[in-house]
């Protein structure tokens, strides 16, 4: 009789422990799968169709532009933290800044899951800056390097930073946790990259 009662306790303990164990196993597997999906999303989110534009408009103004497509095949929405683009003309050891554009997180821009977004930036070069650019081209000519407004050594730098979905990303000490859910895409042209 006593043994039976003991087995009653053991059985209850066993059932509860199995349930306790399975719940944590489910939590672990769910977390590991989420971790895997995030890792794969990091690889799948890419830039495509990077295009640099230098165009002279009918009124003689120079237009400098850059466009890119952000492809997000993952199941996570990307909350844009910042988008930055700048363009300059390299002049030996210095540079003439031409254009820049910066978008911050406050604007609340998102890129939907399983979607692509085209980003385009443009800047009209007029006035003193235009004169400075023409001066650089004339000076280069005098040194035997022939440039035109369309073929000047325009350099571009573009960076896209975003957070995957609503995963926490404001850790101070554990930076690897921020990096885990961050999308950071960079493109540079003409800045000495190899």
């Amino acid at each position: 009789m006593a043994r039976k009662e003991w087995f009653g306790l053991n059985r209850a303990v066993l059932v509860l422990t199995v349930a306790f164990s399975l719940v944590f196993l489910a939590f672990s597997v769910t977390s590991a799968v989420t971790y895997s999906k995030i890792n794969l999303a990091q690889e799948q989110i890419v830039m495509e169709n990077e295009k640099r534009v230098a165009e002279i408009l009918p009124n003689g103004t120079l237009f400098i532009g850059f466009s890119v497509r952000i492809v997000n095949p993952s199941e996570y929405v990307i909350h844009v933290a910042s988008i930055s683009w700048y363009s300059e003309v390299l002049n030996g050891t210095s540079a003439i800044p031409l254009a820049s554009n910066y978008t911050t997180e406050n604007l609340g821009v998102t890129i939907a899951a399983s979607a692509s977004t085209d980003l385009a930036f443009g800047w009209f070069i007029v006035g003193d800056l235009f004169e400075q650019l023409k001066g650089f081209i004339n000076y280069s000519d005098s040194k035997g390097v022939v440039y035109t407004l369309l073929t000047a050594p325009y350099a571009h730098s573009f960076e896209f930073r975003g957070w995957l979905d609503d995963f926490k990303h404001d850790y101070l000490r554990e930076n690897y946790l921020n990096g885990l859910v961050t999308v950071d895409l960079r493109y540079t042209y003409g800045l000495g990259e190899t």
Binding site: A2, F20, S28, V29, Y35, N39, L40, F167
Partner: protein, 151 residues
């Protein structure tokens, strides 16, 4: 012989079943932002759950030495299980390392402190579990063998 078999069963059962909470707590501590549910690296919650994890080990193991051994065993197995979950994307999906450089060493560095917490909490839990087991035994004995009230 039968008692010994019961002891071994208790040891194996408690080791297998108590390892999964340890695995989750370790994994969650390493990657709290992608884990569900998020404990948020709260050491007090981890200690309380470690104590809770130790209770079944105390209840299932009649012998105290078996119960103490089970704490070490389930902690080791749980910790290794957490490491497997940590490796999961790279083994199962062939993904690139999310955190380049010393990826596996980072796991050891960030989570090794938990092992002490698991063992400490486990010992408290085992003491509680064995106390509970003895209490239930005493009550059962009293009910079965105690004086019956006059009817």
């Amino acid at each position: 012989m039968k008692a010994e078999r019961e002891s071994v069963f208790g040891l194996v059962a408690s080791v297998l079943m108590c390892a999964t909470p340890i695995a989750f707590l370790t994994f969650e501590f390493m990657l709290p932002n992608v884990s569900y549910p998020g404990i948020g690296k709260n050491l007090l919650v981890i200690l309380l759950l470690s104590i809770l994890t130790g209770i079944p080990a105390g209840l299932l193991n009649k012998k105290t030495n078996f119960a103490i051994v089970s704490i070490f065993l389930y902690t080791i197995i749980g910790y290794l299980l957490a490491f497997l979950f940590y490796m999961f994307p790279f083994v199962a999906y062939n993904a690139n390392l999310a955190i380049p450089g010393l990826y596996y060493a980072a796991f050891l560095r960030f989570t090794i402190v938990l092992v002490f917490l698991f063992v400490f909490g486990g010992i408290i839990g085992v003491v509680g579990g064995q106390y509970l087991r003895d209490s239930v035994g005493r009550v059962e004995t009293k009910i079965l063998w105690g004086e019956k009230p006059d009817t």
